[in-house]
């Protein structure tokens, strides 16, 4: 078994709900664990407890063989000794230091020459070497984000914790940095935990996801698994997408992409920055089921499918389908009765190209 961060603790607040977190994430190789959930659910508190800035009230946190926190033994390792990099939501750059000063802040100044070299290297990697002598107040939001990230990564922490790393940016910059962030973490072989309330961000950045709602970590697992198979209605509501599967773009023409998903091929709108690997997201209500072949249709995707499950959910019925990949459809109960849908039967699936959302995931 490879080394892991294992956390299981409780943090009580006088004024608000108790935070109860149980999570684990690999720490030996690159990999992004996303802590996902609506705002105000306690995600930031969990990060602060992991960083050592906040002390839980009970439970324990271990990092590989190191004990970071143990309520029973009264152990709480201070942040300085955890070797964790924390990226604050508002970046928290030191206003009295230049970009180079910020990035080199945590480095060992007994080897000044060495530190200077390292600062130059990380600035170059983040493509911000031209900003080295500027002060934070003269930087744009996107630039500040890069500097803060460079500062966090510069000391080669054993684990980085990123708190809503992209939320303070405008949409265009956010999309661009999202791809870069994941690439960077993998180039540096840097394990990371990312907090986000943004579904797309979770899908684009994460390998594993931990869903946190109302102060509780409710479900954890591979991103596709958790999004496609929410454990209960609260998770389903938060993830909001019934089908999440990995795919690969085969070709892009006229703004439309052909994607290989499982053994099937789908047509979808091409993402703004085309990449090869994507996460394919399809909402259950966008999937149309039909019995008889209609002559012509505007839906670009028409697939034969086998019905594998049928679950009633109030006025809706959730239909599990196998059409080269696992697909979920949500249909009304009358429609389900009318079509007489039965497990094991074959049916035709229609999905419009714009209903197939592609999230880049290289």
């Amino acid at each position: 078994m490879s080394a892991e961060l294992v956390a299981d603790f409780e943090k009580r607040f006088a004024s608000s709900a108790t935070i109860r977190a149980a999570l684990r994430c690999p720490i030996e190789r690159a990999g992004v664990t996303v802590l996902f959930g609506p705002s105000g659910g306690g995600k930031t508190t969990v990060l602060r407890c992991l960083a050592g800035l906040e002390r839980p009230d009970s439970g324990r946190i271990t990092f590989g063989d190191d004990m970071w926190y143990d309520a029973a033994q009264g152990v709480s390792v201070p942040p300085q000794q955890r070797g964790v990099g924390l990226l604050f939501q508002e970046y928290a750059l030191f206003p009295h230091l230049t970009v180079a000063g910020n990035v080199g802040y945590g480095m060992d100044h007994r080897h000044a020459q060495n530190a200077k070299e390292q600062v130059r290297e990380i600035l170059a990697r983040m493509r911000i070497e031209q900003l080295a002598d500027r002060y934070p107040r003269h930087l744009s939001g996107g630039q500040q984000q890069r500097v803060a990230l460079a500062r966090t990564l510069a000391c080669r922490p054993r684990l980085v914790l990123l708190d809503e790393p992209l939320s303070a940016l405008d949409a265009q910059v956010r999309e661009q940095l999202r791809g870069e962030l994941r690439k960077l973490l993998f180039e540096l072989a840097q394990p990371a935990i990312v907090v986000t309330h943004d579904r797309t961000e979770a899908l684009a950045l994460g390998d594993a996801v931990v869903v946190m709602i109302d102060g509780r970590t409710i479900q954890a697992g591979a991103v596709h698994d958790v999004f496609s198979h929410p454990r209960d209605p609260s998770v389903a509501r938060v993830v909001g997408i019934e089908t999440v599967v990995p795919g690969a773009i085969l070709e892009v023409a006229d703004g439309l992409a052909t994607v290989q998903v499982g053994t099937a091929q789908l047509m979808a709108m091409s993402p703004a920055h085309p990449v090869r690997n994507v996460v394919v997201c399809i909402r259950g209500e966008d999937v149309i089921l039909e019995r008889e072949q209609v002559g012509q249709t505007s839906a670009r995707n028409r697939l034969p499918a086998r019905i594998v499950s049928r679950t009633a959910e109030g006025p809706m019925v959730r239909i599990g389908l196998e059409c080269g990949f696992a697909l979920t459809a949500l249909v009304t109960r009358p429609a389900c009765d009318e079509l007489n849908l039965r497990i094991g039967e074959t049916i035709t699936v229609l999905i419009k190209a714009p209903a197939v959302h592609l999230v880049p995931h290289d």
Binding site: G52, L53, Q80, V84, G85, L86, A92, F94, H96
Partner: protein, 220 residues
């Protein structure tokens, strides 16, 4: 002008400021960051000299440190002379009396430093003490400087406490404000006028510097 009194006053103010710097910075940082509930009591104790008449503080110091008290006897046995009516005596009195003028600006400046910056520093592996000197002090320096300026200036203008504890011994405890009082009593109005003008100009200049620093700290 009474140069002996001026020189003595400058010495007293400088020592008071230096001691308050070493005493006040940790105290102010504790006040600015602690979450202990009894913090308010320490806050009040520090602010006490703002409301207390100087004679009250002087009276307690005189009684508490005089030759008839245990601390007074201890000091006398250690140094060989009594604390009241000595330079050390008025220095102690002036440090206590000026505590709020140094500590309150220090604490306000520390409280204005974003907590997150301190935490960011800790997470980058930098110790608490090093964080204080590398992040907190550089960001709070205008407030620290203005506290020092105020403490210095207030010591220069101190009258009641110094008179109570130190009396009026030329070259030992006779500061410039006491010299002015003396000159007026002796109807030496010309010398009193010179000293008074000097203090007026000094006080105004000091306040200009302090307020300019405050504006600067707001901008950062």
């Amino acid at each position: 002008m009474d140069t002996t009194a001026i020189w003595l006053t400058v010495r007293l103010a400088t020592w008071t400021t230096v001691i308050l710097l070493f005493l006040g910075l940790p105290l102010a940082y504790w006040l600015a960051t602690t979450r202990r509930w009894w913090r308010f009591a320490i806050d009040a104790a520090v602010a006490l000299p703002l409301l207390l008449p100087p004679t009250v503080l002087g009276f307690y110091l005189l009684v508490g440190l005089g030759p008839n008290s245990a601390p007074g006897r201890f000091y006398e046995a250690l140094v060989g002379r009594a604390l009241p009516f000595s330079f050390a005596g008025i220095l102690l009195a002036s440090v206590l009396y000026n505590l709020p003028f140094a500590v309150r600006p220090f604490a306000a400046a520390f409280a204005a430093v974003e907590r997150r910056l301190v935490e960011a520093s800790w997470c980058l592996g930098v110790s608490r003490a090093a964080t204080f000197f590398r992040v907190v002090v550089p960001l709070a320096w205008p407030g620290i400087l203005s506290g020092m300026v105020l403490a210095f200036a207030h010591t220069v203008g101190e009258f009641g406490v110094v008179l109570m504890v130190g009396g009026n011994i030329p070259g030992v405890t006779r500061t410039i404000s006491i010299a002015i009082y003396d000159d007026v009593q002796a109807l030496n109005y010309e010398r009193a006028a010179h000293s008074a003008l000097l203090l007026l100009v000094f006080a105004f200049t000091t306040l200009c510097v302090a307020y300019a620093l405050e504006r600067r700290s707001v901008r950062i």
